[in-house]
Amino acid sequence: MNTKRRSFIKSSAAVGAFGVAVGAGLITPRAVMAAWPKAAFASTDVNSAIKNALGSSDTTASSEIALKAPEIAENGAVVPITVTSKIAGTESITLLISKNASPLTATFKMGKGAEGFVSTRVKMSKTSDLVVVVKANGKLYSAKKEVKVTIGGCGG
């Protein structure tokens, strides 16, 4: 199956003329999504990723962040993670995996009424620390947990 053609048709149908422009390479998707923090996702170590994503790497360890993840993940491609922040005024939750090629995994920004809770599944290349940074009231709080990975989830 010609996958390129497929995705071209899909994107065109989804966003009309805009999709055509993207598909034809007139506008690179990167330029379209300026809001996505490219530098932060391209950072190769945890501290610079935090700094690029949140403006500062100055974090305080907090016991009010509950990080739920398996001790041993048999399959690194699917590691379930749940973060609960009890810190009042949680603005965002950032997930990082220290030994992945790009540690920054995701940033969740809480809108009006949203609670400091997020649950998702991530890929981990090998045994490493899972770092969570919570932004609340302009300050950064962190928590971490080591997850042992038996089979990596990146590369092949």
Binding site: G19, G111, K112, K123, G155
Partner: protein, 104 residues
Amino acid sequence: MAKSIKVRAKVKGGTTTVKALISHAMETGMRKNKKTGKKFPAHFIQEVTCSHNGNTVLSADWGAAISKNPYLSFKFSGAKAGDTLKMSWVDNKGESDSVEAKIK
């Protein structure tokens, strides 16, 4: 692409719990095709937005390390049963999808 998102939202005691599954390859750009030795090009969701009554309750920036067919769950307050929740995503190729669901 119309049905790439499955959303369930339920109110309990004033808090709405949202659970979503998105069907997406989430290709990191580092996985190799064993036959050709070439890398599969990166193709992953970059932005996910969820809104209720026009208010954005959650917006997320994702990297390639989110698992294939992503699962996302979060909670927020202020909604009641019957309200509409809207969720959308955009990936690094500019593809996108959105869905609306009734809160139960």
